[in-house]
């Protein structure tokens, strides 16, 4: 399962450990792993989908198999605050032009931080079992919670 511009198919994503290994002596001299193909001097101004990632870049790998639970995103409630983006430890919240677009399930490890920091009521992100279908999860979304009295 992957989202829009960063789709798995487009990237030819591989399971960690399943990649074809190159011997140490075949790697660029000095054991340099190039993160990009060709000129990389402008990457700070390029979005992921504009970059030429080399196979050595961990962006081309997936850790999806680490997850037992996954975050599901509900666009209807989201206020694009970007809390989830700033605190995701796995660069797995896809934001473009100040808008939250969704989750990069190739890199998400299911830690649940994004759900905790989401301020909406009900939350715009919730954790579900990895096996749960997206539509099913959205259909089960809770109603707005009344403020708990402290």
């Amino acid at each position: 399962m992957s989202t829009g511009v960063l789709g798995t198919e487009k990237r030819g994503i591989r399971e960690l450990g399943a990649e074809e290994k190159v011997g140490w002596d075949e790697v660029t001299r000095g054991v340099v792993l190039n993160s990009f193909e060709g000129d990389a001097s402008n990457v700070a101004h390029q979005k992921a989908e504009e970059r030429q990632y080399a196979d050595f870049n961990s962006y081309t790998a997936t850790v999806a198999s680490w997850r037992i639970i996954k975050p599901v995103y509900n666009r209807d409630i989201c206020i694009d605050c970007q809390n989830c983006w700033v605190w995701c430890p796995d660069t797995s919240i896809i934001s473009r032009d100040k808008q939250m677009l969704g989750i990069d399930y190739d890199h998400c490890k299911g830690c649940g931080v994004c759900v905790e920091v989401c301020p909406t009521n009900p939350k715009s992100l919730l954790m579900f079992s990895e096996a749960k279908e997206q539509e099913e999860a959205l259909a089960e979304w809770p109603e707005k919670k009344k403020k708990e009295k402290k």
């Binding site: 792993l33 993160s35 990389a40 992921a48 961990s58 700033v86 605190w87 934001s95 890199h107 830690c111």
Partner: protein, 317 residues
């Protein structure tokens, strides 16, 4: 020089990440939150050196790298050495006119864990600070040697249970206080020194920008909650960090030129340190009646430190 806007979070979110996913840090690890906040605060070309530790080991597992910048894997004690020497070489080559791209904005950054910073690389860090290189050293302070199974470091606070200072029938965990690395670095005469936390993303991003803009050796200690060794649920990394900054266990402040101290975050409601300690497994034993005195000691130390910081801020000394 265009630098990413950190005016508000929406602006900040337009930064293009240069720290990639599918690194192997634990789910919920604060190391990567901190690295993302820092790297997203600049579009300069970065030359980064990492000391051995979780960050280094988990972000360059052959055949992968998670770094979209120049990055070097160096010995446990040597990130300050590597970054400062790269800076020296860069300067020399600039002078000689042998750089292919002499006008590119390049900044030198070193990362080290608390083991690497407070203990094993302490002498090398001190040397680089004293030599006055133009670089920024970031300590990812999770208060233990996490990558090798949670041994105590000189950053581990009193009362924490670690694999080499274990709480039990005869021990309440570590018996010594945490080393004040921020004061030590400021005493080197460093032009910019700070202690920052990832829950306060804006002061983190701004502090790093300041350090990069400042000529000379800068040092930033960052609080890095470690789900595995502090023993809390990975989803709670930010809320634990909130408890750390709101109890003033980790005050957020900067020291400019060794004297000008500015407190960067004043909690509206200062919470008792018990709330912070109680949220983590490594302090669980302190809540036994015979260990309660340690909690009181920690609270007393915090109160005194806060008083001290406020006085220094006022006095400008």
């Amino acid at each position: 020089m265009a630098i990413t806007s950190v005016k508000n979070l929406k602006e900040f979110s337009t930064a293009n990440d240069r720290f990639e996913g599918s690194h192997l840090l634990c789910p919920g690890c604060a190391h990567s939150m901190i690295v993302r906040e820092l790297m997203n605060a600049t579009d300069d070309n970065l030359v980064v050196a990492s000391s051995t530790g979780c960050l280094e080991v988990c972000t360059a597992v052959y055949p992968y790298t998670s770094w979209d910048t120049s990055w070097i894997h160096i010995g446990f004690e040597n990130s300050a050495t590597a970054a400062s020497c790269a800076e020296a070489m860069y300067k020399a080559r600039k002078k000689k006119g042998t750089l292919p791209n002499p006008d590119a904005p390049v900044k030198f950054v070193a990362f080290g864990g608390d083991g690497a910073t407070y203990d094993i690389g302490f002498q090398w860090l001190s040397g680089a600070m004293e030599r006055g290189h133009d670089f920024t050293y970031i300590c990812l302070d999770n208060e233990n040697y996490a990558n090798t199974g949670g041994q105590r470091s000189s950053s581990t606070p009193i009362g924490a249970s670690t694999s080499t200072a274990q709480a039990g029938t005869h021990s309440y965990g570590k018996t010594q206080k945490k080393k004040d690395i921020v004061a030590i670095m400021a005493a080197h005469g460093a032009p910019y020194v700070a202690q920052l936390a990832p829950n306060k993303w804006k002061s983190m991003a701004k502090g790093f920008q300041k350090a990069l803009e400042t000529e000379g050796p800068c040092f930033i200690n960052t609080v890095s909650a470690c789900t595995t060794e502090w023993k809390f649920d990975p989803k709670d990394t930010i809320s634990i960090t909130d408890l750390a900054t709101d109890s003033l266990m980790f005050p957020i402040y900067e020291i400019i030129n060794g004297t000008e101290l500015n407190i960067l975050y004043r909690p509206k409601n200062i919470i008792p340190v018990e709330d912070y300690l109680g949220a983590q497994g490594r302090y669980r034993h302190l809540f036994k009646p015979e260990n309660r005195h340690v909690i009181e000691r920690i609270q007393k130390d915090i109160d005194e430190k806060w008083e001290y910081l406020q006085r220094r801020e006022e006095a400008r000394v």
